[in-house]
Symmetry: C2
Subunit: 204 residues, 2 copies
DNA sequence: CCATTTTTTTGGTGATCGACAAACAAATGG
DNA sequence: CCATTTGTTTGTCGATCACCAAAAAAATGG
């Protein structure tokens, strides 16, 4: 085993983690290959040999990001029995994530590349697809609530899921602007205040 | 009057409007001076002579943006007697603004430069300051509601203003991802559903 | 030892970035 | 007509962009 040629002098997983740090701090377009090469401790030619283009590397970085930073909110959504509590815990997990001391205060899916040069359209669409996935996950959880009799069948799942997706994404802007964890908990509490009116059986 | 030297061959206000279009489409870092020069119909040297650096131009563009695109939500906030209706109309005006056919579907204050290279920190802070102004305007309107007896004095104005600012900013992501006007109206309605619980006098 | 395979190192590609200097053009004041 | 002032045109600056070719290095199989 172990292949034939010259062995790698770096750990690709470790290098990917360092690339994540840089992309997280500066966004997609704000990060240059020189930045990446320095942070990853390898020459840019090695980046191309191991990860492909800058865009390829970014997609692999986002896969790592989704698997790590994205896990807690996703788990809160699926692992909580009560639908209402599932949404609430998902929001709290999001706040936790974007106010941590270890990393920049925003969700990469939301702010790593919302605008930019035309040539990077594919990257923006890639992230937009991820965000649509966020909303789809929320909607799926609400559907499950209806199926389990936890939520009135008359609930407007489109509106409700989009509403909470909007809050999740707005939180990143707030955190980026310096809002504290406590302040964002207040936002979450406010966002949950509408749960009763929004899920009540109409006309009953 | 009319100065001494050679007269300008272009209208600065018109050129500023064209610069706004480009910055709006591609964000701050995604827009190059070549893009601007072409859209404004003048050489880049003329841009420097008339507007200063790229950053200077962007600040003037944002002043124009705030005065035009930013006016309807701002007016809805101040010109509506009922506090609740003022917030609601502000949200509707925002949805109107970011789903218009004439311009990209997002608020520049929110998405023109949320992340990017370190050298553009000043621009990001400039926009962050504008966003904090958004929330301050909402808060000021709520304070007025309290002063006018329209809102219970016990209302948590910090949390409430931050909550609606979060929704306003989240709407830009939703619109950018293709949400229709009707879908965003549903988000606004959902966001307003919490108004009653959030403004009720506690323990009464 | 040698051929093969794979990675690293080195160095540089053309393109584009924001910004500006110098030369030229068009107006006014005298 | 001429000096002055201001704007435009032209050309280009050094830096940086994403990307890659060529050569050298380090492993394996025979």
């Amino acid at each position: 085993m172990a292949g034939r040629g010259r062995p790698r002098t770096f750990d690709p997983d470790d290098a990917l983690g360092r690339a994540l740090d840089v992309f997280w701090e500066r966004g997609y377009e704000g990060t240059s290959l020189a930045d990446l090469a320095q942070a990853m401790g390898i020459a840019s030619a090695s980046i191309y040999a191991c990860f492909g283009s800058k865009e390829d590397l970014f997609r692999q970085v986002m896969a790592l990001y989704t698997a790590t930073a994205g896990a807690p909110p996703r788990r809160a959504l699926t692992d909580t029995p009560s639908t209402r509590t599932a949404i609430e815990r998902m929001l709290h997990a999001t706040v936790d994530q974007i106010t941590g001391a270890e990393s920049p205060h925003y969700c990469m899916l939301v702010l790593a590349a919302p605008t930019g040069a035309i040539e990077n359209d594919a990257v923006r669409e890639f992230l937009a697809e991820g965000r649509r996935g966020q909303r789809a996950a929320i909607r799926a959880r609400l559907e499950r609530g209806v199926a389990e009799g936890d939520l009135a069948a008359s609930t407007d799942l489109d509106a409700l899921s989009r509403y909470y997706a909007t809050v999740v994404q707005g939180l990143s802007i707030q955190a980026r602007d310096g809002a504290t964890r406590d302040e964002l908990e207040g936002v979450v509490a406010s966002a949950m205040a509408g749960w009763g009116p929004l899920t009540a059986r109409p006309g009953v």
